[in-house]
């Protein structure tokens, strides 16, 4: 474990000494919980419609698929027309596009980003390498199946998928959300231990809080 992540005693400017544990999140001690849908079905329907028409993507280009994100947001394809926008922070994003292979180093960051997103949250796996490893099926540093580590709502196949495929993927995602089937956040909370066990199996130096959200 790195030196700066160990527990240590710090002397504050006023001379008061206190212990700091960098691996502890002081505000979120409890693991994620299942968040129920709205009680009224009709309300949930309206909400789902709004969620489907306003998809905010987390701006985290995890792999080579990120190269097709720029054309997606520019004149030729212009995904803004469909209510798709970028958010630079995970707190405000709803959709996490895993754009390609994830090395274990990125997986660690992807998990943290994902956990910081607010329920309901969705994941799209982009490219063959998220499905079964793709070109990197025998690589020692990339994961082979994304759905072992994060709940995936939709895969878009290809290497690399064209922007048209992405737009079609968004349409499909909207259908899933509108049908109320995109409950990845709750799935993650329900099977939290299973996901954590899988994640810890590949991330050998787990030097971050158990969960961060």
């Amino acid at each position: 474990m790195k030196e700066e992540l160990k527990k240590r005693v710090i002397k504050g400017p006023d001379g008061f000494e206190f212990e700091v544990d960098p691996l502890q999140d002081y505000y979120c001690e409890a693991p994620p919980t299942v968040q129920p849908a709205a009680y009224q079905k009709i309300v949930e329907k309206i909400f789902n419609w709004a969620r489907s028409e306003s998809i905010w993507i987390l701006g985290f280009g995890t792999g080579c698929g990120a190269i097709e994100m720029r054309p997606l947001m520019t004149p030729r394809f212009d995904a803004y027309r469909f209510g798709v926008q970028w958010r630079p922070t995970p707190r405000q994003a709803n959709l996490f596009i895993i754009s390609g292979y994830l090395s274990t180093k990125t997986l660690k960051r992807a998990i943290r980003s994902y956990e910081q997103m607010q329920n309901p949250k969705y994941v799209i796996g982009l490219g063959s390498c998220t499905i079964n490893g793709g070109m990197y099926w025998d690589s020692y540093n990339t994961i082979k199946r994304l759905d072992d580590y994060l709940p995936v709502d939709l895969y878009i196949a290809g290497c690399m998928p064209r922007p048209e495929a992405l737009l079609a993927g968004f349409e499909e995602m909207k259908k899933i959300i509108r049908a109320g089937k995109a409950e990845g956040g709750n799935l993650y909370a329900e099977n939290f231990d299973w996901y954590k066990a899988n994640q810890k199996k590949v991330i050998h130096d787990w030097d971050m809080p158990e969960h961060s959200w």
């Binding site: 079964n132 490893g133 099926w137 020692y140 540093n141 199946r145 050998h204």
Partner: protein, 176 residues
Amino acid sequence: MQTLYTKLKQLFKLGELTEQRQDLAFITVAQEQLRPLLLHLRDREGFTHLVLLTAVDWMEEGQFQLTYLLNDRAGARDIGLRVMLPRDSATMDSIHDIWPTAATYQRELREMFGIGFPDSPGVNDEFILEGWNDIPPYRRDFDTLKYSEENYSHRPDRETTDPAQHMKQQLYPDEG
């Protein structure tokens, strides 16, 4: 290239010369000769640009080959210096004070091949890998397929075909 080689030969103890192209040659150098030779090439012969520093694992011969590739832009020529190191307990002198950028290469070699470069700044920091717990991955005896099968769960219905067999079946299905 031949003229340069004979000139250098008078000053240093050099190994064999391989002329790959008109403008590219490789010379084998002993470990302790490298540093004066690099300085000479940089300051006297105009090889001012360190193109790359990398290693080749000749596992069967029990040796690592370090390749220092230098470029002389004015003379439009490249020279590669080969340094052979014993494979177990491989260490090499750092050249980060000649080319500061070499520190990055040495960091990578330390991580990916396990070649030691004492004195190179930050050489033991993690560079590419994180939390690596196996032998350095670029060594020949590291089997990436085995590692990936042991560590990652593969999708069960994924098919892998041997290209030679597959092509044979596709093109000449009748021949056994």
